[in-house]
């Protein structure tokens, strides 16, 4: 019953994703176990084994094959889900690019975890960043409710006729995957209305044979890639429409980012993932003390919501970009470099600093969030920062 389903439950992030997938009329799930996403596929295999979900669950012999199975299944017309993290995503890398370039709709949950070496199973965004330029749509959840909601939005966006791209839903390792938080699910009925069984635009069909995954020589390859670029940008354009439709059934409206008092803030801190919540609490405290700080948590990282972000940041006097990943030998973290480029080409010449934090799951506490916001304010007051990049809390 819809009303019953609207009641709040307590659930882990991984389980919330599994619940959303179960409610999404999914046909094929293929995955390989890896911490900390394993609970997602454990729950899904239970749903299938108990007859609660009418889908094929395939445990592959590697992540590379898991994603390859998903590509085959999606081309055959199925609604497809997989999930992975870290090394698993790195092993998928080759097929990640094939999936988007072949315009294969699917959804993948990524339990963002650091990459070996040293071996570490904890939170970092360094696993998804190598897939940044693949043409996938990358969405980031800041809490368990968002991880759940974004999964539905991801399927709808992925299969949108103007998009036809794979979508990843990123949730922070352990901080979200294994944390129990309150969740208000949508009813099965509403879910089914939002995501009726998939109607593929093209699929494998003997009566209408097509060749999928052709070779393209230099005379046509660029046109394939240009279409990928166009589709990725289109995903950004149709996203509000998809999110709006979801808002009508769920009452929860998603945008390109979450923002807390960023509109009139002197100093803004921009971040991906669950740290948004910590920063938000810290910002509220500082606001109580009259300090004009704001926080932005990017929901959509790819396509990059340049226009909306520029509009939001146009009055800021300083900006700190926090990265839970790094481009070794580069100018800083990947989000920082992107934002620098965005500000420059839009004529916003405010001081910007990069805080690299939390690699390999290192804690980032509330007092540290307050400290970062205060540094941002200091930058706004002085009109400059003393350094470009700070590795937060590192023993150098």
């Amino acid at each position: 019953m819809a009303r019953q389903a609207q009641e709040r439950i307590a659930i882990m992030g991984d389980e919330a994703i599994a619940l959303a997938v179960k409610q999404s009329n999914v046909d094929v799930i293929a995955a390989y176990p890896i911490t900390p996403q394993t609970i997602i596929v454990e729950r899904l295999s239970e749903y299938v084994a108990n007859g609660e979900l009418d889908a094929a669950f395939i445990q592959a012999e590697s992540e590379h094959s898991a994603l390859s199975i998903c590509v085959g299944a999606s081309l055959a017309g199925a609604r497809v889900f997989t999930s992975t993290a870290s090394q698993g995503l790195a092993l998928m890398h080759e097929i990640v690019y094939a999936t988007s370039s072949m315009r294969v709709p699917m959804v993948m949950a990524i339990a963002n975890r650091s990459l070996n070496a040293p071996l570490n199973i904890h939170c970092e965004h360094g696993d998804v960043m190598p897939e940044r330029d693949s043409g996938w749509v990358h969405l980031f959840a800041t809490n368990v409710q968002e991880a759940y909601d974004l999964t539905f939005i991801a399927f709808k966006l992925s299969e949108h006729p103007d998009v036809q791209l794979p979508v990843s839903v990123n949730l922070d390792a352990f901080i979200l995957t294994h944390s129990v938080e309150p969740l208000t699910p949508i009813s099965d009925e509403d879910a089914s209305k939002f995501l009726p069984p998939r109607q593929p635009l093209y699929s494998i069909d003997f009566d209408s044979p097509a060749t999928f995954g052709t070779m393209a020589l230099p005379d046509t390859y660029m046109e394939f890639k240009y279409q990928l670029k166009e589709a990725a940008e289109k995903a950004g354009q149709v996203y509000p429409e998809v999110a709006g439709e979801y808002a009508r059934i769920s009452g929860r409206r998603y945008w390109y980012f979450n923002s807390y008092m960023a509109d009139d803030a002197d100093a803004v801190v921009l971040v991906l993932g669950s740290t948004y919540g910590t920063l938000k609490v810290a910002a509220r405290r500082l606001r109580e003390g009259g300090l004009k700080v704001g926080v932005v948590g990017l929901t959509m990282f790819r396509p990059f919501p340049e226009k909306q972000l520029v509009e939001l940041l146009k009055n800021a006097k300083s900006l700190i970009v926090m990265d839970r990943a790094y481009s070794y030998g580069g100018l800083g973290g990947p989000l920082y470099m992107e934002v620098l480029a965005m500000l420059y080409r839009n004529g916003l010449r405010i001081p910007v600093m990069n805080v690299v934090y939390g690699l390999g799951g290192r804690d980032f506490r509330l007092d540290e969030a307050e400290a970062v916001l205060k540094i941002a304010l200091d930058g706004a007051r002085r009109g400059r920062f003393d350094e470009h990049v700070r590795w937060w809390g590192v023993r150098a």
Binding site: I58, E61, A76, A78, M102
Partner: protein, 315 residues
């Protein structure tokens, strides 16, 4: 299914339809092209082909052209068995949920994509038991990249990465036993075939399609530039491979071996070897030991198969 099942008694019984169209870009005399043409004549209804990266892929699917009149999927080099697994299971569940038309799924992969880089994906697919037919066209090296050794290259053969050098005369390692690997997964059907014996080949394809579960077919497909012989010789050389016992034609049904082409009096292996440039260095006196090693490998393999067949033991 009886192992005697014959679907096509003469070449005239084969359908006239060409699902693998002419106009592709394979070399003149390409063994893989002959294999593809024959194999896809033996489909029994709606069929999809999954083809990993390789000679056949680059020569048949260059945008905006295609040689495939049936649905065709290429994704990457090492994952054809996995992609096919997804196609099989998706069609199956969609058939159950929404009445989608069932399709046979055939993988058509080279030896590099099967013996080496695709072996893990193949093993996974066989273990999971998907209903698919995996066909390896074996030209015994990485021909698409310019004739490099693979796990399917026989001992002694010269390739560009196992050249006939003064110190190391060609490949020093034996060929992997693909059928033994496949059979170790306890699959219902595995077989070898040669393009020189087309009726045996097409009947095996059709027979395999009738069997539920994973099936593996290993087809010898000589390569003109890789084996170094004139394009007109492809079928003759493939036949010599069978007649010298170099490539035994047999099947393993539920673990039981049956030799389909009994070569009572084999031709000398030299007849097969001398027809090709890749073995020419084996006939220099200093390389006699390599020739002996190859002969020994061929003999051992035949004797092993005969014993397995006689014993009736299920592998």
């Amino acid at each position: 299914m009886s192992s005697q099942t014959i679907f096509y008694k003469t070449p005239k019984d084969l359908p006239r339809e060409e699902w693998f169209a002419s106009g592709h870009r394979l070399c003149a005399g390409c063994g893989a092209g002959i294999a593809a043409r024959l194999i896809f004549k033996a489909i029994r209804g709606p069929t999809v082909v999954v083809n990993p990266t390789g000679c056949v892929e680059v020569s048949t699917s260059c945008y905006p052209y295609t040689a495939w009149k049936i649905p065709y999927v290429h994704v990457a080099f090492e994952n054809a068995a996995a992609v096919a697994s997804g196609v099989v299971e998706a069609i199956k569940i969609l058939n159950k949920k929404r009445g989608r038309k069932l399709h046979d799924v055939i993988v058509f992969a080279g030896d590099g994509g099967t013996f080496d880089i695709g072996l893990q994906a193949l093993s996974g697919a066989l273990e999971r038991g998907h209903n698919l037919l995996y066909i390896c066209y074996d030209n015994e090296a990485y021909m698409n990249t310019g004739i490099q050794r693979s796990g399917a290259t026989p001992i002694g053969a010269a390739t560009t990465t196992s050249p006939a050098g003064k110190v190391i005369p060609g490949k020093q390692e034996r060929k992997k036993d693909l059928i033994a690997i496949a059979v170790a997964h306890k699959i219902p059907y595995a077989a070898t075939a040669s393009i020189s014996h087309p009726l045996d080949l097409v009947n095996k394809v059709r027979k395999a399609l009738e069997i539920e579960g994973p099936k593996v077919l290993h087809v010898l497909a000589p390569c003109v530039p890789g084996w170094r012989y004139p394009p007109s010789e492809t079928v003759r050389i493939a036949r010599l491979a069978v007649e010298t016992r170099y490539f035994p034609v047999y099947e393993v049904e539920y673990g039981r071996v049956k030799i389909n082409i009994r070569v009572k009096e084999p031709k000398p292996l030299e007849e097969f070897l001398k027809a090709q440039g890749r073995f020419s260095h084996l006939f220099r006196p200093e390389n006699a030991h390599v020739l002996e090693a190859l002969k020994k490998a061929v003999e051992e393999n035949w004797e092993r198969l005969v014993k397995l067949e006689e014993s009736g033991i299920a592998l």
